[in-house]
Subunit: 252 residues, 4 copies
């Protein structure tokens, strides 16, 4: 049950890329399911993603609590977002929670649904649901600080890839670290393109269901196209030296 | 009555963070009440916040004038904003005045009130009042250059955390340096989220009064979450080496 | 049939400038027709433009396939955009494909045509056509992955300089590397100016046909004005050392 | 008739600051009237402002042509903007021409006049006139390439501080280098504040004529407040070492 160094490095890269691409600031986090034990996941201790290094990860169970006794470093308050999504969705291998600024308006105004309008936004799927913590939990600090709240959010996410969180941010789930980072970076870009298209007036051409399906079918996490972005982002974030490209990519 | 080095360092960090996060440019300032003498406060001499170091602070009284005779360095013209707020509000320990660009539209247009729409904006409180210097002082250069103007602004602020200043900027008041910096950084973000939500159309979901209260109740200036941001901002602003985390946080 | 070093250097500069000016990220590419064989063109192997160096170029034929047998490095999936435009347009010497964010809204909303409103945008020509891959190819992944799709795009471009690609980006064609880079940088700026002018309300003053023609007549790729930008962009992109200014500019 | 080194340094700083603050890119220029001969002015040779150094200036007469025979370096095509304004306005000591992006919409859309809404924008004066080169010169390349066009622009500027140029940019005139740089930096900020205020809806509170007058009365180019910005901008632009503060400021 030891964790491959390449996975740790990928998770460090993910943290730094999300910071560099302004998806997260001091807040927001990324996690990955343990490769050998689907009942656990890895996530950084309470630390700004930009500052996360290989020794900063903790192993949590699907209840959001540390697996190892004696872990006494402060943890992210909102780790329950990750725990509940890994619990509800066996297909999900990686989760991001972030407050990316340009996704926020779609969780605040009810006039326009966030939907894919650019090809790189196709992985969002269809119209993105908005989870409002107030619906079931009343007046809170808006943070997901227990597993019940996490499970409620996971229900809203359902079988999808992204849920917006009203007045707060989003949660994204995917089959790999590379994929969840990619989706988290393109989500705000898709949001900006849609906001500006609305301002130009006239009808909006969203991606069709068939286009979304065609793109999903073609996606492979280690294709040259996907790798190109990952390599570029890692270099820009100052951690190109941590890149590991598998000789035999998973599944092929 | 000597001032702890950690407070001086916090004030240097605050200056640099506000510059780095584009809340201030050459203009704008941050102050802290003297820890031993509530009738005084510390603020930099007339200098761009990005360039402020530990030797650049002066002690002013609640009339906005230097406490020590012989102080002959030029002072901020608008130091009366700070003086008057410290005078009117014994609960306030730190004040920021700034011109952050994305707060300006809400002081110019009367169609939309600035109110919290994102959880990190909750510390603004409710709808932010707009102070118009012209109401009581007629045609001025819009700057708060005497204590009478400062007091008028402090009356508009009332028991709140922020007041917008028409065509000029804002004044923010809080219980600590960390808190006032945090509020000043999130104020423009909350403003942008609200502006963009308005453009999407439909109704706007503001934070409820209960949510604002719940967040205020939970706030502690040295919690791991608050510290995470402070550490992150300080590192980004190139002054991580000045960070001091109290072993025994104030009040607990 | 050897390629002048200055052309290779120009192509490296073009890649880096497009990255630095945020026209491309990991995706997007620039190509140049072979100076001695109009049936070939040079383009980078599959690599983020920011990372492209002199040894990263491949020679492709007008079918989009490598001219040299044994070329086994991964290629850009969308190289057919370049191949088809070079095939259809003997006057074109350089092509860019990119996803520049602020051009996207004009391919998504049908309420406003992208047209030149600023003098630096004149090289766009008149109203920019929008190519929708779905019109002839149904539900795809939106990428131009074969020569038939490339030719369909080239037909939409016609004798023009730019075509928008719905939900995806744009293709630009010009008489030189410098010119196609220049057009690609100014296209998003022109798009932003038009978007914001629309928001101000009232009528829009587009460039007249006569103004567009006057600017085109005066353009020379090695004039002091054009060179000034090229030199500035190259320096900003960290490759000023690769600049070569021809003693005898092409055509005189 | 030798030129003080401090003026040359100020002009270098002005070039670099305008570049750093994104008022100019490769295009745009700043000039200063010769301190001893009001019939001449100094401006850089054709070079991106970011790259301008002390040896790059030329002396031009009020006809826009070099004063010294033998000057054979390429000159800015649009130097006639400066020549004509210095000719028409003996009170003007410094001129900027630039294409700052956020000023462009107000020259393209006729629905909203650019007027001061923020205190730092007061130096614009009242509603900014828009000069359209097409009115008297028909279809051109939109550039001011001869003295007749320059004079037409100067007439539109009249006794004011700024004129917008339709589809092109702006010209600003002031009593000193520091002042014209300051106005050029705040002009786009004022434009953004006004654009966003319009989007919020409701009435707009512009600066009153009395406020504009009060601010103009109080302005001194070497006051601590003005110096603070100049010092800050110069440091940010990497040329703080060129700063010279006069012991005895001009005029006292």
């Amino acid at each position: 049950m030891s964790i491959p160094a390449s996975l740790i490095h990928d998770l460090v890269i993910a943290n730094r890329v999300l910071a560099r691409e302004e998806v997260v600031d001091a807040y927001g986090h990324v996690s990955v399911r343990h490769p050998d034990d689907p009942q656990r996941f890895l996530i950084a201790r309470s630390l700004a993603p930009e500052l996360v290094g290989p020794d900063d990860f903790v192993e949590l169970g699907l209840d959001g609590e540390p697996v190892r006794s004696g872990e006494d470093r402060p943890l992210y308050l909102e780790r329950f977002i990750h725990a509940a999504i890994f619990e509800a969705r066996p297909d999900v291998m990686a989760v991001v929670h972030a407050h990316a600024e340009d996704t926020l308006p779609f969780g605040i105004a009810d006039g326009t649904k966030l939907r894919p309008v650019i090809h790189a936004g196709s992985f969002i799927g269809g119209a993105v649901p908005v989870w409002d913590i107030a619906d079931h939990f009343g007046d809170t600090n808006l943070l997901v600080t227990n597993i019940a709240q996490g499970r409620d959010l996971a229900r809203c996410l359902g079988p999808g890839s992204v849920a917006l969180m009203r007045g707060h941010g989003f949660a994204a789930a995917a089959r790999s670290v590379i994929e969840v980072v990619r989706m988290s970076v393109y989500l705000p870009r898709n949001a900006r393109a849609l906001m500006r298209a609305k301002q130009l007036g006239g009808g909006i051409k969203y991606l069709s269901d068939g286009e979304i399906a065609a793109r999903n079918r073609g996606y492979r996490p280690y294709s040259p196209e996907t790798w190109r972005t990952w390599e570029y982002w890692a270099n820009n974030a100052g951690c190109g030296h941590l890149l590991t490209r598998p000789e035999t990519p998973p599944g092929g």
